[in-house]
């Protein structure tokens, strides 16, 4: 599925004199090209904000187009307006299912928002939606105090020397363990420095078919373990499928893929909701394994804890769910903070935005910024502020801060762990401290990744073939690696080469052209 180039966006860029590479220098727009870091304190509703002094004083409106939790964004938007009374924030929420189509329609109609969220980076980059905000990012002191890999792995730079996107919503990778199940099975609790093999052993040893209390399973899954393994296998990996920043290598992925398929086929993974196996196990076909008290560990999403297990409705299930970092494969890596997969949604300033410094400040407030997070935590603490379904905001897909600011984290942990005893609060503190080297899922952070998945990986149905036992994951390594590198190289050339943003050096361009040639050349069809 080729992404279309939004000619209208590029045309607008040309009309207003913006390049894809630089901040605003147009008439009627902001001329500020860097963050001065000069601020003054402003106290609003008990929060001390560091109001930037280098924004325009013009009366302007900035449109923020997003799929974040709407009531939270509304709260943030109104607070931003209080801090910057000359700036009106037009908060536009769109359901994630229609988000891309709607955004395309807005661009076609010359109604491009100023600040956008996105998850599929191929969509954003192929349409040249986001501007190079390097000058803001590089000069902004706050960006130096984020989760390490945001800068060290160039997350949001997409393999270039420029910054195109910032992390907006961060959901750390996590393994949930039900300590009550371990106690029942007399299995020792792992440490936060556990290794991948120790995790697999826990899954195996905590699957018991003949327990007097009924069947116990070692793993209830939401995310496949192969997604985790590739990144857990080496600190050189900065993306799924063994992506090292420029190239893919699926050999490590294949190990995790085969391991997970074998666990499923051999009976170590709990039945899924809506299956006969679930009905046979629990007597209710629509039961969820996370409510049974008979599963030792879960590969659920981060938000499952607050949204489900932490709610009153789950008190009845006698669970003791605690968090663990996704373990690294090697003991050396596992003994210290290490890379861990995470769900990160990104955001950027659009190429057609004329007040880019102000838009950057708004984007920061909505995403990684300290002031925005203070505001979020205030909203999350006030459980009278609810979503459309009457649910307090902290239970509605609440992210974690990607800033390392201590004040923010202290407040976040106090909010997150409200009602927990000291022991559990400490467990969460330990976990949060160990998950600050996030590596995002591939479709959000690697150019060409989603095209690769849509046109090759998922088309072949590799997961299904391996899960069925008819193929080994290792069978696919060679071809899948070639294809992945071809798609990545093609995307890098298309997005960042001379016909795109034109930011690749001659050396880099030659590198990707060579990669493309070595991995299929001009082949555009997939071989199945």
């Amino acid at each position: 599925m080729k992404k279309r180039i939004v000619a209208g966006v590029l045309a607008l860029v040309m009309v207003v004199g913006l390049t894809a590479c630089g901040p605003g220098t147009t008439s009627g727009g902001s001329t500020t090209t860097e963050v001065s870091n000069e601020t003054e304190e402003v106290v609003i509703d008990g929060i001390t904000y560091n109001k930037a002094l280098d924004l325009t004083t013009d009366e302007i409106t900035l449109t923020y187009f997003h799929f974040d939790q709407d009531e939270t964004v509304e709260y943030l938007a109104r607070r931003f307006e209080e801090i910057y009374p000359n700036i009106t924030v037009n908060n536009v929420y769109e359901n994630v299912g229609t988000y891309n189509d709607t955004l395309n329609a807005l661009v076609d109609n010359n109604e491009t928002p100023d600040v956008i969220m996105f998850s599929d980076c191929d969509f954003a980059l192929s349409n040249f939606l986001v501007a190079d905000i390097s000058s803001f990012w590089d000069s902004d002191n706050e960006t130096k105090n984020l989760a390490d890999t945001i800068n060290s792995a160039g997350i949001g730079c997409y393999g270039t020397d420029a910054r195109w996107a910032v992390p907006v919503k961060f959901f750390p990778g996590i393994m949930f363990v039900d300590r009550n199940v371990l106690k029942t099975l007399n299995y020792p609790e792992p440490t936060q420095n556990w290794t991948w093999d120790e995790m697999i052993q826990l899954i195996r040893n905590c699957t018991v078919y003949d327990h007097p209390n009924g069947i116990y399973y070692g793993l209830g899954y939401y995310n496949r373990l192969d997604s985790y393994y590739g990144i857990a296998s080496s600190q050189d990996v900065v993306g799924e499928f063994g992506f090292n920043g420029t190239e893919f290598d699926l050999s490590a992925w294949a190990i995790g893929e085969q391991q997970f398929a074998d666990l499923k086929n051999s009976g170590f993974v709990a039945p899924s909701t809506g299956t006969i196996e679930m009905e046979q196990w629990q007597g209710d076909i629509n039961a969820w394994c996370g409510a049974t008290g008979h599963v030792a560990m879960f590969s659920e999403a981060f938000w499952t804890y607050q949204g489900t297990w932490a709610t009153e409705a789950f008190d009845q299930y006698n669970l003791d769910i605690v968090p663990y970092v996704i373990p690294a494969v090697s003991e050396e890596d596992a003994s210290t903070d290490h890379h861990s997969i995470a769900t990160i949604d990104f955001g950027g300033v659009t190429t057609s935005c004329t007040y880019q410094r102000e838009a950057y400040e708004l984007l920061k407030f909505m995403s990684f910024g300290v002031d925005g997070w203070k505001t979020r935590i205030q909203a999350y603490n006030d459980e009278s502020i609810v979503n459309a379904n009457g649910l307090a905001l902290k239970y509605d897909v609440m992210p974690a801060p990607i800033t390392k600011d201590e004040e923010v984290w202290d407040a976040y942990i106090d909010m997150y762990c409200a009602g927990m005893d000291d022991e559990h609060k400490q467990l969460w503190e330990n976990y949060f401290a160990s998950c600050m080297q996030p590596i995002p899922f591939g479709w959000t952070s690697i150019a060409g990744y989603w095209n690769y998945c849509a046109e090759y990986f998922n088309t072949i149905g590799i997961h299904d073939l391996v899960d069925s036992g008819s193929r080994k994951a290792a069978d696919f390594v060679e071809e899948a690696t070639i294809k992945a590198n071809w798609y990545h190289a093609t995307a890098m050339i298309d997005y960042f080469g001379p016909d795109g943003y034109d930011v690749l050096s001659e050396e880099d361009l030659a590198f990707y052209e060579n990669m493309k040639a070595e991995n299929g050349g001009d082949t555009t069809t997939t071989e199945q």
Partner: protein, 525 residues
């Protein structure tokens, strides 16, 4: 890495599509149709001595199953996991995971229902509604349903032509099911498709109707009525759709004509209505109509009652009459002693080093162990535990050994996924004294390939092989190979199955495979 797109997209369509609960809005058809005054016929007023009173309708149905007794034209069917010969057509043409074969009316219960008696299906059987397509553009179907168990996209009524076949085979179907697009299980979702329309457009005809304020189906009676006006429209994507109405419990929940009149009908790709022509199978197509089963999804468990098919679009008054004939307060009370959560099979083993899925679903020639080499003059020994299904058991639902000449691959056909250059089989040998190689696939010729011997007690073979410990030895004698299965049952009985003097003319490798079975390899020496 798969992204969960479909649910989000469908959810998005849900939020974006303007569905209007239209109350008593009339359709074009209803304005011109017959008088809605009650017409009594003998069949319509006859009170079945074993059930309730039939609805008084202004039109005659072409099919009416009261389910007040088993003496009606419907049949009982069951799923066949082995995809054996199907009643409708060559099962090998299906893309589903099962076949549908005849069951027995002895296995269903007829109990008090919403309208007189109803049929209770215990989760392992379903109904072949066994009627011919009306061959009309307009039609209506209506029935009562009460679910003990229902999963999203699972079938209640599913009918159409070539419904189990692959895309591109003129597939058309109507599926009345459940979805959770708004976070709760809502019934019904009316999903339909017709590949015989719009073959030249990019978007296939695949519309749906969904009651966003629908019912919970589990634990209560719901009457569903779908009315197809027979009139067709062309949507914005070029697909042809038909006007349709959805009634739930006698009330009109959705009318596609209203959307058309409001100008919102063609706004989205997935237009909310029905595919046309579902009751007009093309020449060569097979029409099927089932309740509670299709070729893929979990079988329905619960009750069905008062099933009607009309060869025209019935009126809102007739729908109300259908509903008025029933009593939604009746709680079905079947004997659930023999209820199944699917067919009961052997307990699943937990495999430490398994080959084949532990739920016995592995099909033939679909998975293999590692491939081991046996050098000349050597013997390789593999000790494993053997488990197999108990359902529709055949003696070949077990493990088998493959002697081959390559260290990789399981096929010599270049286009096969498991192709290996030069691959050839010396022998494929099962536990049940049957062997072959390549295209030589008969017992006689297979046995002619080697010297076979077994000590099985065939009366107890099935039980003996399940859970048995098997020590398999493969010996390379240079120009021949010997294969011996030494079997010790769970009870301690011992048997031997051997295939000796198998001719080999090159390197010798072997692996294990399974069918409707799994093995747990303990040791390889």
């Amino acid at each position: 890495m798969k992204k969960r797109v479909l649910a989000a997209l469908l959810c998005a369509v849900m939020t974006a599509t303007l569905l209007v609960g239209c109350g008593d809005a009339q359709t074009e058809n209803s304005e011109s149709e017959k008088e809605s005054t009650q017409k009594e016929t003998e069949s319509e007023t006859e009170t079945d001595s074993s059930g309730g009173e039939d609805a008084v309708l202004s039109v005659d149905p072409v099919v009416h199953y009261t389910f007040d007794s088993a003496d009606e034209n419907w049949k009982v069917v069951v799923a066949d996991s082995a995809k054996a010969a199907n009643n409708a057509y060559d099962i090998s043409l299906t893309t589903g995971t099962r076949g549908i074969v005849d069951g027995s009316k002895d296995d269903i219960q007829i109990i008090d229902g919403a309208v007189g008696k109803c049929v209770y299906l215990n989760g392992s059987n379903a109904l072949d509604l066994n009627f011919e397509a009306t061959n009309t553009d307009a039609y209506s179907v209506s029935f009562w349903v009460y679910a003990d168990r229902m999963v999203d996209f699972g079938p209640t009524l599913q009918m159409g032509s070539n419904i189990g076949m692959a895309d591109g085979s003129g597939v058309s179907w109507l599926n009345i099911t459940q979805a959770s697009w708004d976070g709760t299980n809502d019934f019904p979702l009316i999903w339909s498709r017709n590949e015989n329309y719009n073959l030249d457009t990019a978007n296939t005809c695949w519309p749906w109707m969904y009651a966003f304020d629908g019912q919970q189906l589990v634990g209560q009676w719901v009457m569903v009525t779908v009315v197809d006006s027979g009139e067709t429209y062309t949507g914005a994507n070029g697909a042809t759709y038909t006007g349709a109405q959805l009634y739930v419990n006698g009330e009109l929940k959705y009318d596609s004509a209203d959307n058309f009149n409001n100008g919102t009908y063609f706004e989205y790709t997935w237009d909310a209505t029905l595919a046309p022509g579902l009751m007009k199978p093309a020449e060569g197509q097979t029409f099927e109509a089932y309740f509670g089963i299709n070729y893929w999804d979990l079988i329905f468990k619960g009750c069905v009652d008062d099933f009607y098919v009309f060869d025209q679009a019935i009126s809102a008054d007739d729908v109300k009459a259908l509903y008025a004939a029933g009593d939604a307060t009746v709680t079905p009370n079947p004997d659930r002693t023999d209820d199944t959560s699917g067919p009961q099979d052997n307990a699943k083993p937990l495999l430490q080093n398994g080959v084949g899925k532990n739920d016995y679903s592995q099909g033939w020639w679909s998975t293999w162990s590692d491939i081991w080499e046996v050098k000349e003059g050597e013997t390789k020994t593999v000790t494993y535990k053997n488990y197999h299904t108990d359902l529709n058991y055949q003696n070949y639902f077990n493990s088998a050994v493959v002697l081959q000449n390559t260290p990789t691959g399981h096929s010599g056909v270049e286009t096969d996924a498991n192709y290996a250059a030069g691959y050839a089989e010396y022998l494929v040998a099962r536990l049940d004294n049957f062997a072959w190689k390549g295209d030589v696939n008969t017992g006689t010729e297979g046995h002619g390939l080697c010297t076979t011997e077994s000590t099985w007690n065939w009366d107890t073979f099935k039980d003996d092989t399940h859970g048995a410990t098997i020590v398999l030895t493969v010996t390379n004698n240079g120009s021949t190979a010997d294969v011996v299965f030494n079997v010790t049952t769970q009870e301690g009985a011992t048997y031997t199955q051997s295939y000796k003097d198998v001719a080999i003319d090159g390197p010798l490798y072997f692996c294990l495979t399974v069918e409707k079975a799994c093995i747990d390899i303990v040791e390889v020496k």
